[in-house]
Amino acid sequence: MNLFWDAIVWIFTPVWPRGTIVNTVVQRLGEHILYTVISLVVAIVIAVPIGYYIGHSGRGRQIAIGLSGAARALPSLGLLTILALAIGVGRAEIAAVFVFVLLGVPSILAGAYAGLEAIDRRTIDAARAVGMSEWQILTKVEIPLGLPLLLGGIRNAALQIVATATLASYVGLGGFGIYIFGGIQSHDIPQLVGGALLVAVLALVLDGLFALLQKFAVPHGVAVAMAKSVRTRPSRPTAVVGTPIS
């Protein structure tokens, strides 16, 4: 436990470079968050419309599943290094964001179309029957009802990106990874463990924020419908006692 204590002491005694208003830990935190947010936004912009198209039309689902599975098998470290070489180590930011976007898209895509597919078909038929246009069905019925699953997908993507953003330092970028790689190279255990703790805490905080967001962003009607807990459903119709035979 001594090592963890040393790491915590290390975190709270950071270097303050001359002429800056923030210390290096805050600066690394800023870089780490910046990579995560940019990549997440790009991934959302790409994946959500495609996911909604697949979910609304039911077309291209198999292709999306196949591509997502294949993307999961690709090692991020390999993609990052080969792209950094291809684009040039001087512009590694582009390589990093590209890899993180690729990492985030499958989860968000799955969340978007699964959210639409999970809706009871009768609800959509009803919306069509009362005269809603396809666009109204999408924006007023499907998107609000599919929101919980979409947010779940975005949450997964965000966690994967924040974890993998640690690798960005390996191709010469910033973020908390700098401490881990620096610690490995110089056998500085407090720095190494301190960096690991910082990434882990950042991931946990992000997860907590998304949990809150999921709780508040879900429409009230959906929240009530989702509150069905395990094992409340009777396994068979309960015996009917004393109902009059009509």
Binding site: A73, I82, L167
Partner: protein
């Protein structure tokens, strides 16, 4: 292409080492998650606790866990056991949730029928619930397999040899072909293990395809009567 021809034995050796690091976490994940998943499925208290804990474990970035875990339990960082332990934690974290979901999805009528024809709780679990939960658990195990094979490469960063070594060496020596070889081998191993699991699933659960067909029929029937 020269690099590849001169280093075929290196690629082969690293692929084998990669495989040796990938398989134990997948097996451990399946075996350890079975009792834990059952606990999460059976009791509401343990469900809350277990699903929260595995959710948090899954959140911890792999590189951070690879560094912090050995420090916490007093293991050196540069040993294969460290990589296997860390990846097992992720595998268990993912499989506990899947196992619980799979057991939840077993039709309660079937369980009551099994009890009615005289199965003990133990016998009913192994001969009714476990086989019926099989397909969903297999789907979870496939996800675990593919992501484990991909995550093993991160172990190279802390000095445990795997195909990730090709990425590190390729970046340092500026050989894109070396990195590409590594990526291709990782994908090949992942897809091969995945295909093996699918075949294994067809072999030990031959009823899956029949069930799928009859389920479709049931849905059609429901739709027709609704």
């Amino acid at each position: 292409m020269n690099w590849l021809f001169n280093n075929l034995d290196l690629v082969l050796r690293l692929s084998l080492e990669h495989l040796q690091l990938s398989i134990p976490p997948i097996l451990i994940g399946f075996v350890v998650a079975l009792p834990l998943g059952w606990l999460a499925h059976r009791f509401r208290v343990t469900r809350g606790i277990l699903l929260t804990v595995v959710g948090l474990l899954y959140t911890i970035p792999s590189l951070a866990l690879l560094v912090a875990l050995p420090t916490a339990i007093g293991l050196p960082i540069i040993v294969p056991t460290n990589v296997i332990t860390c990846l097992s934690i992720y595998a268990v974290a993912l499989m506990v949730r899947t196992t619980a979901d799979a057991l939840d999805a077993v039709d309660p009528d079937v369980i009551q029928s099994a009890t009615a024809v005289g199965y003990s709780a133990w016998g009913r679990f192994w001969r009714v619930e476990f086989p019926l939960a099989g397909p969903v658990m297999l789907a979870g195990l496939r996800v675990v397999t593919v992501s484990t094979v991909s995550l093993v490469t991160v172990g190279s960063l802390v000095g445990v040899p795997s195909l990730g070594n090709l990425f590190i060496d390729g970046l340092q020596r500026n050989i894109p072909l070396e990195i590409a070889t590594g990526i291709v081998m990782v994908v090949v191993i992942a897809l091969a293990l995945d295909a093996l699991l699918v075949l294994l699933g067809r072999f030990i659960m031959p009823w899956t395809r029949v069930v799928k067909a009859s389920r479709n029929r049931a849905v059609e029937f429901e739709a027709a009567t609704a």
